[in-house]
């Protein structure tokens, strides 16, 4: 009999909430790496806060903030090679930035521009996925292709706890394991799918254990511990690159903000719970404590860095808004390689309207 009550559950953690951990383990991370990691996390936190503000000011559209999930996203992406593939959902802006997506391009996306979902040619980032769980299969197929071609990229699929209830999640893990393809399923269990808590999503004690049923390895990691995430991801990616097949990683984390700017989280979770995560478990806090202990970071550096990032955001916003192209006429260009006659007729109609300045 297989009984989850008899399973041994472990969560990988290297750095606890107060910034303490096994000295030897922590010594394996270089000063330079720790600073890079922290700078990224601080940077994306600033960006997230700015984007939220801009949404309130009506300068960008509906936005899904990721604050609280920086360690999971940055820690995992920094373990990747530049040419590895990532498959993001709407909440993975931090991961996209760390994988090389320019901030100005993010503005194109959040401002709903025609070119907003076009990833730069030299970046292996799949367009942002809105359908929950659908990208799990694309990542599996992409990794399958890599394996068939004898190449060495790894595909990393990002999704939330809610996505694990979708059929595509099941099919993707099953295919990935049957064909032993180099894909990492990286689940950020941020405890909620909009309003639905994870215990209503699944009766499994963990999401990581679901891996077992597919004959693959699963790992539960403290998703607010960037070092644990990085190390776990590094191991998973190396194993996948070496032909050892897929892995499911569950990063336990928490969404500090609303689901999106259209959501009111006070309807489904209490302030106390949020405060707990904010004050006690913030992923930036523990890393900063470690940096300070090592004499790598000061309040002045923090202020200077935040100011610099804020400036970058302003510049990127200005760059993006100064170069806003794309009209209704362009949308017809990307339906087929060559538009059909009937589609061309419709495009000509809007082109005439554009000439008459009836449309943008």
């Amino acid at each position: 009999m297989f009984d989850q009550n008899e399973l041994r559950f472990e969560m990988v953690q290297l750095l606890d909430e107060n910034g303490n951990g096994d000295e030897q383990e922590l010594a394996s991370f270089s000063d330079e790496f720790l600073v890079t990691l922290y700078r990224w996390m601080r940077k994306v936190r600033v960006i997230d806060e700015r984007l939220l503000k801009m949404q309130r000011q009506g300068r960008i559209g509906t936005y899904a903030p990721f604050s609280g999930q920086e360690a999971a996203q940055i820690g995992s992406v920094l373990a990747l090679r530049k040419d590895d593939w990532i498959f993001p959902s709407y909440r993975e802006i931090a991961a996209c930035l760390a994988h090389g997506l320019p901030l100005a391009q993010i503005f194109q996306y959040v401002r709903g521009r025609v070119m907003g979902r076009k990833m730069p040619e030299d970046l292996n980032i799949f367009p942002t996925q809105i359908i929950i769980g659908a990208q799990t299969l694309h990542a599996t197929g992409c990794a399958w292709a890599t394996k068939l071609k004898g190449e060495t990229q790894v595909s990393v699929c990002y999704f939330g706890d809610g996505a694990t209830s979708e059929g595509d999640f099941h099919e993707a893990l099953n295919f990935a394991s049957v064909y032993q393809v180099p894909v990492i399923f990286f689940c950020q269990n941020n405890h909620y799918a909009i309003s639905v808590p994870v215990h209503k999503q699944t009766a499994s004690r963990t999401i990581a254990q679901k891996a077992l049923a597919y004959g693959m390895k699963g790992v539960l990691v403290d998703g607010n511990d960037a070092l644990a995430v990085y190390k776990t991801m590094k191991q998973a990616v190396e194993a996948a690159r070496n032909g050892e097949g897929p892995m499911l990683i569950e990063a336990l984390t928490y969404r500090l903000g609303p689901h999106t700017t259209a959501d009111d989280p006070t309807k489904y979770r209490n302030a106390e719970e949020v405060e707990q995560w904010k004050r006690k478990k913030d992923p930036l806090h523990r890393l900063r404590v470690l940096l300070e202990k090592r004499g790598l970071w000061t309040e002045e550096q923090e202020e200077a860095w935040v100011a610099q990032v804020n400036e970058e955001v302003t510049e990127a916003y200005e760059e993006a808004t100064a170069n806003e192209t794309g009209s209704i006429v362009d949308v017809f260009d990307y339906v087929y390689g060559k538009p059909s006659k009937l589609l061309q007729e419709q495009q000509q109609e809007v082109a005439r309207r554009k000439q008459r300045k009836e449309v943008r």
């Binding site: 367009p127 197929g141 990794a143 295919f175 006659k341």
Partner: protein
């Protein structure tokens, strides 16, 4: 030239494209060792090996979803959905994912996959093995929809579909798989997607059809000639892109239009054709457009399916109605 069946033509097209281009792979349920439940992929595993022909797990969304990833990363997958009635399982991956990869990425990525699937009635199948669901996909911008009616077209259209940069749904009327043989050139050839075929020229009435119903319509048109009605029969071959020019030229000539398809009537692709004709040539018509289609019920059980499908009596009656004007 060899005389072969439609299923042989489909098999030959895949084999020749796999020989020509090593990026072409085949995946689906029972397509490997078994060669497909209709033998469409017979011999492909033996010839190309298990790194190009895959018996996948039993999961339609998985087959299409992984095909998308394979296509974006350099392959040209031919995915089989065992029967079109099972495609609902993969609806999101087809209509909301494969169809939109080019659009969503503003041209950064394309999704060159072919989804082959048998469909169509008259063969006494269990439930959901016969449904003609093409209209679901002509309503999904980004997909192409091809529906051959004979061996020659099937080969040329399938080769064109495999070489196309966009996702193509290739719907094969299973009743016609082995219904008749036809001369088919051995060498590979393409029939461009979006070019209809005039099966029979005529002056009095235009009958537009595609896929499973074309041979019946062609036969009836030949019979009617003897009775003094000269029908023009158009086999669309491809619904998306649509050969609107061929349709309009014929309608302008005859002024009488009948549309025949197996799918249910309401919102069937026939409705779209009727609307296009009304928009463009209402005043060239001498009679109201007639549609002979499946009825607006789920596809019925075998004992009554022949009375549900467009049949000779209904088509002849429709032509008589048109000729009364």
């Amino acid at each position: 030239m060899a005389e072969i069946t439609m299923i042989q033509a489909i098999n030959e097209a895949m084999r020749q494209e796999m020989e020509r281009d090593e990026r072409v792979i085949v995946l689906g349920e029972d397509v490997g060792t078994n060669g497909g439940v209709f033998r469409a992929t017979d011999g492909l595993l033996e010839q190309f090996g298990d790194q190009r022909v895959f018996d996948t797990p039993l999961a339609e969304s998985g087959i299409i979803g992984t095909s998308i990833g394979l296509a974006v990363n350099g392959f040209r997958p031919i995915a089989e959905i065992q029967f079109l009635g099972f495609v609902y399982q993969a609806m999101d991956q087809l209509a909301a994912q494969a169809a939109r990869i080019r659009f969503r990425s503003a041209g950064r990525f394309t999704c060159p996959i072919v989804v082959r699937s048998p469909y169509g009635g008259g063969v006494r199948t269990p439930e959901l093995h016969s449904d003609a669901l093409e209209a679901l996909f002509t309503h999904s911008p980004g997909l192409k929809v091809v529906m051959p009616s004979n061996a020659y077209d099937a080969k040329g259209l399938l080769i064109a579909a495999i070489r196309d940069e966009d996702p193509v749904l290739f719907l094969e009327p299973m009743k016609l798989y082995r219904a008749f043989r036809m001369e088919v050139p051995e060498e590979p050839y393409e029939i461009p997607l979006g070019k209809a075929r005039i099966v029979k020229e005529g002056e009095d009435v235009t009958i537009i059809s595609w896929g499973a119903t074309v041979p019946l319509v062609a036969k009836l048109a030949a019979d009617m000639k003897a009775q003094g009605v000269d029908a023009e029969v158009i086999d669309l071959r491809c619904l998306q892109p649509l050969d609107i020019d061929t349709i309009m030229q014929s309608v302008e000539k005859t002024g009488r239009v009948m549309i025949v398809h197996e799918a249910v009537k309401t919102n069937g692709f026939g409705a779209e054709i009727a609307a296009l004709i009304s928009e463009r040539a209402l005043f060239s018509l001498s009679a109201p457009i007639v549609r002979v289609t499946g009825y607006d019920t789920p596809y019925p059980v075998p004992s009554v399916e022949d009375d549900w499908l467009p049949n000779a009596a209904r088509i002849v009656e429709g032509v008589q109605t048109l000729m009364r004007y």
